[in-house]
């Protein structure tokens, strides 16, 4: 009996935390492949490298759980970033520039939310339109040219608190915020309900439209912040930056167990997903793997990681259903 319980507990841990198991295995393998892998500087580098896309991934996680999506985050990031840099160069104020970056992200995503809620445009289409519009405005505003000599603005991306790079600090704060919103607020519970079954959520009195707009506004603040961090990290206001970041963010969220059908996902899973991709890129560079081969390996390992995660979850569901069936049969036999 005890054995059975321990086995069941192990199965539960394995299926719920399978993505973390993948991450741990990966850390062990990477450490065996390169002795520098676990050095504090390398870990700090990887964390800084993934910080921007992970912040975007937290936003995508919130949206996907609610049955939504944002394809515009790479472009909005660029727009928010260049406008923030521009304002800094004009005013010299870091706080005003920071506020402008956040505001631009929130405004663009407010429009996304309105398009989805009021006009019933599918999130895919609405954010695809915003992707083009935001990139266009960024290019129009800068005439396609980079903004150089950004001075103290680089502090956002290159500053440190102790030995921790500032983008990593922001990533941790946003991670905790996402975890709190999803797991400890009524908004988070509503979001899971809306993503799981919109009609049922509406029938149970949840204001679905408000939840959707709320999700976009939170995502907007995250995207604006990511834009500020990217421009500061690269020491340039680049209107063409962030291309393809939406897919990197989506990859991290999906690897982390966020279900595209909505209603499922966690902040911790997304962070693990982002680190899996980050570790993979890092170890391939440290070991000098060829550029083209890197793409093949990355794709294959992502498929393996997600495949294992899905298999573990399906296995768990099957076992739960099997156990319930046996218990019902026993009850029927007693009757």
């Amino acid at each position: 009996m005890n054995n059975l319980m321990t086995r069941e507990k192990w199965q539960t841990i394995k299926s719920r935390y399978s993505i973390y198991l993948v991450l741990i295995v990966m850390i062990i393998v990477c450490n065996l492949l390169n002795e520098n892998f676990l050095s504090p500087r390398n870990i700090s580098n990887i964390s800084a490298q993934i910080s921007v896309t992970t912040i975007l991934a937290f936003g995508e996680t919130i949206l996907i759980i609610g049955g939504l999506l944002d394809l515009s985050c790479g472009s909005v990031l660029a727009l928010a970033g260049v406008l923030s840099v521009y304002v800094f160069k004009e005013t010299g104020s870091l706080s005003v520039a920071f506020a402008v970056g956040l505001l631009v992200g929130v405004l663009c995503n407010w429009v996304n939310g309105i398009l989805v809620r009021r006009f019933n445009i599918p999130a895919f289409i609405a954010t695809l339109a915003m992707m083009t519009v935001a990139r266009g405005i960024a290019l129009l505003f800068t005439k396609g040219q980079n903004i150089y000599q950004i001075g103290d603005y680089v502090w956002f991306g290159q500053g440190k608190i102790g030995f921790v790079p500032l983008p990593v600090v922001f990533m941790i704060i946003i991670g905790i915020l996402t975890w709190y919103i999803l797991g400890h607020t009524s908004f988070g519970r509503s979001l899971y309900a809306v993503g799981g079954n919109e009609e049922a959520a509406r029938a149970s009195g949840i204001n679905v439209g408000r939840v959707k707009i709320g999700a976009y506004l939170i995502n907007g603040a995250f995207v604006g912040l990511a834009g500020i961090l990217l421009m500061a990290r690269t020491n340039v206001g680049a209107p063409n930056s962030g291309q393809g970041y939406e897919f990197e963010a989506l990859t991290a969220a999906i690897i982390g167990g966020t279900s595209f059908s909505g209603g499922l996902g966690t902040a911790g899973g997304t962070l693990a997903g982002a680190f899996i991709v980050g570790f993979l890129n890092n170890i391939m560079n440290l070991t000098g793997v060829d550029s083209y081969l890197q793409q093949v390996i990355k794709g294959a390992i992502i498929a393996l990681a997600v495949g294992y995660d899905m298999w573990a979850k399906v296995n768990r569901t099957r076992k739960t259903l099997g156990a319930a069936k046996t218990s019902n049969e026993r009850k029927e036999a007693k009757v």
Binding site: N34, N36, S39, R41, N42, N45, A48, Q49, R135, L139, K143, G144, Q145, N146, Y148, Q149, L230, R233, T234, N235, V236, A238, P239, N240, S241, Q243, N281, N282, N285, L286, T287, G288, S291, Y292
Partner: protein
């Protein structure tokens, strides 16, 4: 009757004058389409802005800029549309020369004058080209590096996208002019960073971890070189690192001035724009019928960087 004849003569004279004016005006107003590779590419945007500025000097030219958004299909459609809309001359900045080749050939067959630029599409009879030689742009840096890079040095290489003519030819120049002649030099890291600063930063951060010493950064453009330098700018271990790029961006000029970057080859978008427009004008007015020409790509080092910084001051990129 006399009055009628006088009126008729006046009307005829006015009509003839209008006709002549219209014909002359029509003959002197040439429509030019500049089909840009991607306005999101900062060099392409710099070139497009330069072309628009330069065209203002020719009152008989009207230039329309079209953005292909780094998409072959879009660029080919723009070429077809420009022919259909009876543009007198098309300047094509190819996204992928071979993909645009049949469309440029068709445009030439349809009687439209075509210039290919940055990079040229070779061997299309009847078309002209204005370019900067990508081999030479990298070669001037490689020849300098031949003297500067220490013996048994470890270097990292940052490449542009594979299949891009400028990326491939610049890498080829480094191979022939430097690596083939310096067998003592070891490449400890080489990756494609897609001309992108952030991507180059990520690679450099990893290379710095994996290698105790890196003596030089060989980059196929300035943006990637600047990204690699961003990573090590505060690290005294890399105080003497050499860094080579191509393009002559404002950022590279400032890095060279401050002694952080070693050299670049200037690919001056203003010169390219000025030459494109002057060749376009000469083709349209019949001064020439065909030409293939290159702009210079001067080597920029700390010794001569001041004069090139002025170019960027003029554009407002440096204040």
């Amino acid at each position: 009757m006399n009055t009628f004849m006088k009126s008729l003569r006046t009307v005829t004279a006015v009509a003839a004058l209008c006709l002549v004016t219209a014909t002359v005006a029509q003959a002197q107003n040439y429509k030019v389409a500049f089909i840009a590779r991607a306005q999101a590419d900062s060099f392409a945007a710099w070139l497009a802005n330069g072309i628009m500025d330069e065209a203002k000097k020719y009152p008989d030219l009207t230039v329309d800029v079209m953005d292909s958004q780094a998409d072959d299909a879009k660029e080919n459609a723009f070429i077809e549309n420009a022919v259909a809309n009876k543009y007198d001359l098309i300047i094509v900045q190819p996204n992928n020369g071979e993909a645009q080749r049949p469309y440029v050939e068709q445009a030439v067959k349809d009687g439209v004058k075509v210039i290919t630029t940055n990079a040229r599409i070779k061997d299309i009879p009847g078309s002209s080209s204005v370019d900067a030689d990508p081999y030479e742009q990298a070669a001037v840096n490689a020849r300098l590096a031949l003297k500067q890079v220490p013996e048994n040095a470890s270097v990292v290489v940052l490449n542009g996208p594979s299949g891009n003519m400028h990326a491939d030819m610049r890498r080829d120049a480094w191979q022939k002019e430097f690596f083939d002649k310096r067998s003592d030099v070891k490449i400890v890291g080489e990756q494609i960073a897609h001309w992108n600063k952030e991507e180059a930063m990520r690679y450099m951060e990893d290379w710095v971890q994996a290698n105790d010493k890196i003596d030089a950064i060989v980059s196929m453009n300035d943006n990637m070189a600047a990204g690699a330098l961003e990573v090590i700018k505060d690290d005294p271990k890399f105080d003497k690192i050499l860094a080579y790029g191509v393009d002559g961006t404002a950022e590279a000029m400032l890095l060279i001035q401050s002694g952080k970057m070693t050299s670049t080859a200037l690919q001056n978008a203003y010169d390219l724009a000025a030459k494109n427009i002057s060749v376009a004008h000469d083709l349209l007015t019949g001064k020439i019928t065909q030409i293939d020409t290159d702009i210079d790509c001067p080597l920029v080092t700390k010794d001569n960087v001041a004069e090139f910084i002025e170019i960027h001051k003029k554009s407002g990129a440096i204040k």
